[in-house]
C-alpha cells in the first residue's frame, strides 16, 4: 500500500520517475550488480529529465522539493536499486555541508555545479575512525593563504565518481572535536587519488572507494566556515539528511512485500495457494504493519524537519526504526519465498544484502540510540 496522503503533484512526479527508472535503470541492474558498477549513463539521462540537484532549495536554483516529497521520490529509486539510490542521493551531499556552514559564494557555486550534473562526495570516515569523528587523523596545515591536506579517507560514497570532495581534517590537534575543519577539495587537485573500489556485500551499484590526499594544496577560500567549525558543520548536515536517508528502503521493502504477496498467490503446495494459510497471512500482515509504520515515522520526521522544528531525536528514530524494520520485512519475504528467496534468480536475496548497510552508515544505529537515549533522559 502506497502513501495515502500523496498530493496530485507528488503522484505526478513519482509516476514520471517510476516510469523512467523502470525503463532505464531496472533492465541494467543485474549486469551492474555483477560488475559492481555505477551506471553513469543513467545518471546523465536523469539530468535530461531535470532531476539533478533534487534537494537544492529554490533560492539556489533548485526545485525546492520539501523533505516529504523527496522521501517519496527516493522511495522510487530504492524500489529499483538501493545502490543507485545511495550514490544518486549522495551526489548532492556537498551542498548540504556548504549550506550548514559555508558562505554565500560557496553555496551559490556548489549549487550551480550540482545542478549541472557534477557529483560531490563527503569524506569523513577513515580506516581507524567511523563513528568517532573526533578521531580524525587527516591533517590540514595552514601555510600562507593555503592549507596542505594529508590523509586517507575510506568507505567514501562516490569516491570514484565525484568532481568535488568535502573533507574533514584536523586543523588544531589539541582541541579534539573542536579542532576539526571542513574543506572543499577538487578531484583534479594535484595529490588527490582514488583508491580501490570496495567489493561490498550489497548496494553494489553505489560507488565506494578510498580517497587519498597527499600534500594537497587547498586555498583558504575553500574552507567551509571557520577553523574548528568542522564537527559542528558535519553533525548539522548529517542531522538534516538523517530523517529521510532511509527513504529508498521503504521503496525496496514495499516491493519485497509485493513480490512475496504475488508468490503467495501462485505457490500452491498441497493443492492450494500458500496465501490461504493463516501463518503466511500473519507474516505478510506483520510485514505490512512494519512498512506502514516505518513510512509513517519517516514522513512524520520529514514534516517536522520541513517545518523547521528540532529534528535531532526524531531523525535518529526514523533512521533507526526504518533500517531495522526494512531488514525484518525483507528477511521475512525471503523466508516466504523459501529456496527461491535464497536464489540469485529472484530479487529478494539482493534486497537483503542491500538493506544490511543501513544499520551501519549515516551514523550506526548504536550511535542513533545514544542520541535518542540521551535526549530523552536529559542531563543526568
Amino acid at each position: 500500500m502506497e502513501w495515502q496522503l500523496m498530493t496530485d503533484e507528488q503522484k505526478d512526479i513519482t509516476g514520471m520517475i517510476r516510469n523512467f527508472l523502470e525503463k532505464e535503470l531496472a533492465p541494467i541492474v543485474p549486469e551492474c550488480e555483477e560488475k559492481s558498477e555505477f551506471p553513469m549513463e543513467v545518471f546523465k539521462k536523469i539530468g535530461e529529465i531535470g532531476l539533478w540537484g533534487l534537494d537544492i532549495p529554490e533560492e539556489y536554483g533548485g526545485p525546492g522539493f520539501d523533505l516529504q516529497t523527496l522521501s517519496l521520490i527516493r522511495e522510487e529509486f530504492g524500489r529499483v536499486d538501493c545502490g543507485f539510490a545511495v550514490s544518486f542521493g549522495a551526489a548532492t551531499v556537498g551542498f548540504k555541508q556548504v549550506l550548514a556552514g559555508g558562505n554565500e559564494q560557496q553555496k551559490q557555486a556548489m549549487a550551480k555545479r550540482l545542478l549541472n550534473g557534477e557529483i560531490s562526495a563527503m569524506c569523513i570516515t577513515e580506516p581507524q575512525s567511523g563513528s568517532d569523528v573526533a578521531g580524525t587523523k587527516t591533517k590540514a596545515v595552514r601555510s600562507g593563504d593555503e592549507y596542505i591536506i594529508n590523509g586517507t579517507k575510506t568507505f567514501i560514497t562516490n569516491g570514484g565518481l565525484a568532481n568535488v570532495y568535502i573533507v574533514v581534517a584536523v586543523t588544531n590537534p589539541d582541541l579534539g572535536s573542536r579542532g576539526l575543519s571542513c574543506f572543499i577539495v577538487e578531484r583534479d587537485a594535484p595529490g588527490v587519488s582514488v583508491g580501490k573500489e570496495e567489493n561490498k556485500m550489497g548496494i553494489r551499484l553505489s560507488n565506494t572507494t578510498d580517497v587519498v590526499f597527499q600534500n594537497v594544496h587547498v586555498p583558504v577560500e575553500n574552507r567551509i566556515g571557520e577553523e574548528g567549525d568542522g564537527f559542528k558543520i558535519v553533525m548539522k548536515a548529517l542531522e538534516k539528511s538523517r530523517p529521510i536517508c532511509i527513504a529508498p528502503l521503504i521503496g525496496m521493502a514495499q516491493r519485497a512485500i509485493e513480490i512475496a504477496a504475488e508468490y503467495c498467490r501462485v505457490r500452491t503446495p498441497y493443492g492450494k495457494p500458500i496465501g490461504k494459510l493463516q501463518g503466511i497471512q500473519f507474516k505478510i500482515a506483520d510485514m505490512e504493519i512494519q512498512l506502514q509504520t516505518a513510512r509513517a515515522i519517516m514522513m512524520y520526521a520529514a514534516k517536522v524537519a520541513d517545518e523547521g522544528k528540532p529534528i535531532s531525536c526524531l531523525g535518529s528514530i526514523s533512521k533507526t526504526y526504518v533500517s531495522e524494520a526494512a531488514f525484518t520485512i525483507i528477511d521475512e519475504a525471503l523466508q516466504i519465498l523459501g529456496g527461491y528467496g535464497y536464489s540469485k534468480e529472484y530479487p529478494i536475496e539482493k534486497m537483503l544484502r542491500d538493506v544490511r548497510v543501513y544499520r551501519i552508515f549515516e551514523g550506526t544505529n548504536e550511535v542513533q540510540r545514544q542520541i535518542i537515549g540521551k535526549t530523552v533522559i536529559g542531563k543526568c
Binding site: E9, D12, M16, F20, E48, I49, P63
Partner: protein, 263 residues
C-alpha cells in the same frame, strides 16, 4: 520554423479489459496517456527544434482533462499548448473533428509543418491527419519514418509494406508519424511541474466564429455508429506437451491434417 503537433489523449488500450458479465469495456481505472504515435510526431518536431530552432505548438481537441496530455507534451519540450474544447464538438466523427481542428489551426496562424501520429489507438482510423490536410488545403505525407530538411523542402522516408519511398515535398505539409520514426524523449520533471502551474489556452466554439454549427459534433458527422459489441474472444486450443521434439511435431502435423489445414 513553426510546427504544430496534433495530440490526442487516449485510454491505454493495452490495459483495457472486458467485463465478463456485461460484455462491455471496463474503462474506469484505465490510465489516460498521450497517444503513442503522437509522441513520435512530437519527438520529430522537437528534434527539428533542437536542430533548426523551431517553435512547437501542441494542439488537442477533447474534454478539459485532455490538458494533462498537453502538459506532458510541454514537459517534453513543446513551447505552446492549445486545447480545443466545447460541448458542441462532442460526438464528432473524423470529418467533424478535422473540420474543427482545421479552424483552430487557422486561428493560430501559419505553420510550416503540421504533425500527427499515424492513428489514435482508440479510434484506430488514421483519418484525421489526411482530412485535416484536406481542410487546410496542404500537401500530406503519411507513414513518415525519417525526416530531412533541405531549406523549404522536406525529404521524407515513407514506410510502405515492403520498402521505403524517399519523398520530396515543399512546406507547408502535414505529416503522420510511425513508431520507427524515433524514440520519444522522456518528459522533464521540472518542466512538468511548471506546466502543471500554467493555464492552458482553451479555444471554444465562441473563439472560432467561422465554425458552422451544422458541421460540428454529431450533426456534422456523416458516419453514425449503429452499434458496438465486444468481439468473440479467441479461445485456447489444443496443447501439445508430451514427448520429444519429433513426437510433438508429428502430433501437430497429424492434428492439422485431421482439421484439414494445409501448410
Amino acid at each position: 520554423m513553426k510546427i504544430l503537433v496534433c495530440v490526442k489523449q487516449v485510454p491505454d488500450t493495452t490495459e483495457i479489459r472486458i467485463d465478463p458479465e456485461t460484455n462491455t469495456l471496463i474503462r474506469s481505472g484505465v490510465p489516460s496517456i498521450v497517444n503513442p504515435f503522437d509522441k513520435n510526431a512530437l519527438e520529430a518536431a522537437l528534434q527539428l527544434k533542437d536542430q533548426y530552432g523551431a517553435e512547437v505548438t501542441v494542439l488537442s481537441m477533447g474534454p478539459a482533462q485532455a490538458a494533462d496530455a498537453l502538459r506532458e507534451c510541454y514537459a517534453m519540450g513543446a513551447d505552446h499548448m492549445v486545447l480545443v474544447s466545447d460541448r458542441a464538438f462532442g460526438g464528432a466523427d473524423t470529418l467533424a473533428t478535422s473540420y474543427t481542428l482545421a479552424a483552430a489551426i487557422r486561428s493560430l496562424g501559419e505553420f510550416d509543418i503540421i504533425f500527427c501520429g499515424k492513428q489514435a489507438i482508440d479510434g484506430d482510423t488514421a483519418q484525421v491527419g489526411p482530412e485535416l490536410a484536406e481542410h487546410l488545403g496542404i500537401a500530406q505525407v503519411t507513414y513518415v519514418a525519417g525526416i530531412e530538411r533541405k531549406e523549404d523542402y522536406l525529404i521524407l522516408k515513407k514506410e510502405q509494406e515492403d520498402c521505403y519511398e524517399k519523398i520530396q515535398v515543399r512546406m507547408p505539409v502535414l505529416l503522420t508519424a510511425v513508431k520507427s520514426l524515433n524514440e520519444p524523449r522522456y518528459p522533464n520533471v521540472m518542466k512538468k511541474m511548471k506546466a502543471n502551474r500554467m493555464e492552458v489556452l482553451t479555444l471554444t466554439a465562441k473563439d472560432l466564429p467561422e465554425l458552422i454549427p451544422e458541421k460540428l459534433g454529431l450533426k456534422g458527422s456523416p458516419t453514425k455508429v449503429k452499434k458496438t459489441f465486444v468481439p468473440s474472444v479467441r479461445k485456447a486450443g489444443v496443447m501439445i506437451l508430451g514427448g520429444d521434439a519429433s513426437g510433438k511435431v508429428s502430433e501437430l502435423l497429424d492434428k492439422l491434417t485431421e482439421a484439414k489445414i494445409t501448410l
